[in-house]
Symmetry: C5
């Protein structure tokens, strides 16, 4: 994620960092410019069509459909933003539940059960790191902290890793109850946090694996391309060669909306617009640690 | 569901897979083209109406109503998308609850109760498959896995099948409590997952059985058809025969929105835009299996 | 509710079932037509106003306000649809909770307690029927099934009937706990379903009893009427007698949106756009029955 | 709240009850009319500006910004409506929870504990009345029913009254548990209703005390006033003295939206658009009473 | 937060308090004015371009894109408002949970446990104050009330402070259960309030730390600036020097929307549009105190 100060307007105008849509769209904007130049040259220079040509009125189509295309694209971007924000909420929920689980375990499991306390102290952040990597399609051994009760070789790396970590936490918790360290009521007390682990995981997987329906996405792209390709045909009569920046700018606006939507609708990657999952995981590790007094010595 | 890479723009323009609205709308687009040709020929060639004809101003109606029709259709598509996405969320919830239920059962029911553990290991995925088939109006025996405690002939195939499977899971769980294998508190610990089975089922049935209100749908279709049919009447004066692609393209845009909405508002079928319920069910089967160590041997 | 196949476009164009807004609006459309005819005749035939009359420019108002009125009406219809859909969700929740309650009772109350089991088997569907009738302002004795533990004469018919049925279910459940048939924990296990009965009831009452604020509704109607009444004044100069179908169609579109909103915002009646509460109640009766093995013999 | 039949269109056109925005806006509409008359007289009669004056083109601004202002106002009204509806949902939740609490208490507290039963029978409606009055900034002793266990003089009238009533209900409930009349599990069974009392109270306070951000509200008002004040400058050239009703009507539409929003965003007062809190409180009193058999004798 | 009476329209027009966007935008509006003056002088006075210059038609772009920019900005402001309102809801939830927790503790912990009761009486408001300061990036010792069981020096001021306070509350509660003052069921009874503390904290942190995606924000600013900079180019031909107020006003409207969005999307600061966290914290302190009878003496 790019950190930025949203109030420095001037920097926005002259800066083009990697995440900027201008940078991504530059080659396409050049193509649109050349295409508009060609069309203008043909219509003005070669065919020398008059202002009364019917072709001029093709711009009626652009104003009639201008509203639909605008609205579709704005809704498209908003839907993508909603997914991005839902992803952020889910990781926020993971932060909350990790912290609450750590605070509860710290107070329910007496200090003499060093191994059991360490288990939670390390496995809760392990879940966050594992989920982050699972959503990115890999597994980083270096981000896994071993505990006396759960070693790296206990993980089957080709199975669903967050599922195994959540399973281990469930097992440990019921085991503590069997041994009488936790009361049966404590299981119900801990249940919201325990079950939220896999709930967050499943919801993130849902966002990552479900793009918007194919026919909707295909329709939108066809619509944008045809709309922009026909733009110079009508407007060249009133703008002549000025139609070139005109088309480039309109294309920039419409395509930016689609490009932004594509980028933010899967928010778990490592692009500059994606969520800062590394930071969030590290934050979970820090506050979970702070919940256990022994971690401070 | 069609899997696609949303960033390959060019392929979208030249590809017309089965899910594409162009393919579905082609016959109607041809009819609209012929109709526009006929109208144009009548007005230009036969009646030779002048540019000052009042008919020309009928296009005032199209610009005055252009906004309503755009907005109605964009909202229509968004409402349909919301149902599609709600369907996806529900199946995501089923994934989460199936996994959590498996993790909890694995840890609560000791390993020596082989039959009981197998019951959950197979009946949880059975519920997902049965719900999938129930929503598609059939029942596939081949997708049902028998367990020592529940056989295929225990199912009354003309009754509500997911209801029976959920009922069997409830019975088994209370039976385990009666036998002292589960504590009374464990019933409360398991309750969220247990009751979510029929909650997901009922919510999916709601989406599948409730189309948008008849009068709304009928109004929308009448509106689109009259709007498009009157289009060439006004615009033929400024576009002449160019009105034919003009009308076809506008019809394509408006009708696509309605067609996409119709396709995605019932997301549980087997069309190319529908949700990948087979994959999700298989995913449930896989991760539920991984929760039980004995399934790995 | 009208069942229909949303893909048969042609039938939508030529069919005018009772639920169609065309049918409801026909008298008003005729009045608008006659009114436009009168205005046109006065302006064209009697006063013979010229094209340069200021009156012509009154249509500037219609284009300036065209957007507000469209947006208000589309939002109005969407708000009404949201209520309709919330009503549907509530009855969906009633289905889910009725089924889960039946499944839980079946497994918790042993088979020898025939009367108690019958009580739930009949009282759960009784609640659905009673709520349906309560929302429609009546009470149908024929839709009430008596049980050994609750007779028709136990109901005070002038008091709140769903409240009494929910109360009876609460009483019976606590009674079973007092007699030791249910454990105290089971009360918590059953609580979500028990309290959802009156939650659904109260939420349905809220939808039924709360129309949108008066000043909003009054403003909208005044706006539509003035907007349509002034329409022919401006457009008659460019359309002459063609202004008549022009005004009728625009009135049809705007008024349809308001009429649809009025129809669907209270979804519990017996109109053709209302929710199929009879079918849903019968569905509850069927699946609740299937949950009890003794009901099948 | 005004009760009305939304289907009598004609009455809406000719009726101007107190809640109607026409009535509230009349003085301002007269001012706008006089102002437009003045401007028109200056431009047409005094300065005799020609049609080619640049001033005419100031109306380009009105069409360019027409969309923003419409959209802002429609969203403004919708946001206000959402608050109004949230207020209604909260009071609906209070109805549901009051009823469920009464049904549960009736069945859990045996009939011989007359005083305790009476306590809940009167204190639950007392909470609704107290909350209603608290939101209106007063306290009506006449709407408070004393019980054997809680007298009017137990209330400290300068402290937060709903908080005290909820506290008394909590105290009574825990006291019943201490005396063994309720089991510990019953506390959990009753918890959702108990804690919902202050949840509803806090949420209502939030709506009442939080207007939309100042800079948003100030911007909107400035925008509407400048937009309307500049309206006659441009349109007087095409409409001449017809600009007067033109400006009045556009002002009526835009200002109505803002006025409606202002009225409904705080829904707990006694205006005609506010929620019928008196009726709802009386309804709670009635159905809570019906839950206790002794109340019927 | 600025308190204001939303019905005094005149004051809104002539007042420009610190929160008003006019005040913030004045320098930029002056720059836009000078820029428009320069452009107008060049085009009218220096180059003396004719009305038929192609440049005039650049305004076609402004009307074609006028809808997209309006919609984007209105959605932008609404998204920011949603965050502001979510922030308000979260603090409303903190109010509710603090009150309910105080009411429950008061009734569950007998009066003789003076120290324990005081602990909750002071630590619950301490959490609110600490969260407020945490969100503002500081810690005010003066707003922390020490109790017999928790002193200021128990806080590690460089760690997460709300986390420590919530942890102390958890510890104290489980300790009361261990000592038999609370029953195990009471832990479940108190759980919703206990875990809500860190839930609110995490959700507020999420809002504060997550601005909208960089590429979206950068695109929006580039779009506004280019749109406004090109405005005088086209409109100078029809408005001449009147284009100066024209451009200033349009810039004011568009930039205000962006500025308002920037201000309200992080609602936890001390700006005039931010939420009144100090007042809310003081309110929590007051009502929590009122829940404990000993606090009144």
């Amino acid at each position: 994620m790019v950190n930025y100060d949203s109030k420095e307007w001037l920097r926005f105008l002259i800066n083009f960092p990697k995440a900027d849509t201008v940078r991504k769209l530059t080659p396409y904007m050049i193509i649109m410019g050349l295409y508009s130049l060609g069309i203008s040259y043909l219509i003005i220079g070669v065919w020398q069509l008059k202002d009364t040509s019917d072709l001029r009125n093709i711009s009626l189509m652009h104003s009639l459909l201008g509203f639909v295309i605008s609205m579709l694209l704005v809704f498209r971007t908003n839907t993508a933003y909603d997914r991005w924000w839902e992803g952020r909420r889910l990781w926020g929920a993971l932060v909350n539940n990790s912290r609450n689980l750590a605070l509860k375990i710290n107070t329910l499991v007496p200090e003499e059960h060093v191994n059991e306390r360490n288990f939670y102290r390390f496995m809760i952040p392990n879940f966050a790191y594992a989920l982050k990597n699972h959503l990115r399609g890999n597994f980083l051994e270096t981000e896994f902290t071993e505990t006396g009760l759960f070693k790296l070789y206990d993980l089957r790396q080709h199975d669903h890793i967050p599922n195994q970590i959540a399973g281990a936490i469930f097992n440990q918790t019921v085991d503590l109850q069997r041994r009488g360290i936790l009361l049966p009521e404590h299981l119900i007390f801990l249940n919201p946090e325990l079950q939220s682990l896999m709930d967050v995981c499943g919801a993130c997987e849902r966002i990552r694996k479900t793009p918007i329906p194919y026919s909707y996405s295909a329709f939108l792209k066809k619509f944008i391309i045809i709309y922009c390709i026909t733009l110079p045909l009508g407007y060249v009569f009133s703008l002549h060669y000025l139609v070139i920046p005109f088309v480039i700018f309109i294309f920039y606006v419409l395509a930016s909306l689609e490009v932004i939507a594509e980028e933010i609708e899967d928010p778990f990657g490592t692009d500059s617009n994606d969520l800062p999952l590394d930071d969030i995981s590290a934050g979970i590790q820090a506050t979970v640690g702070q919940a256990f007094p022994e971690a401070r010595q």
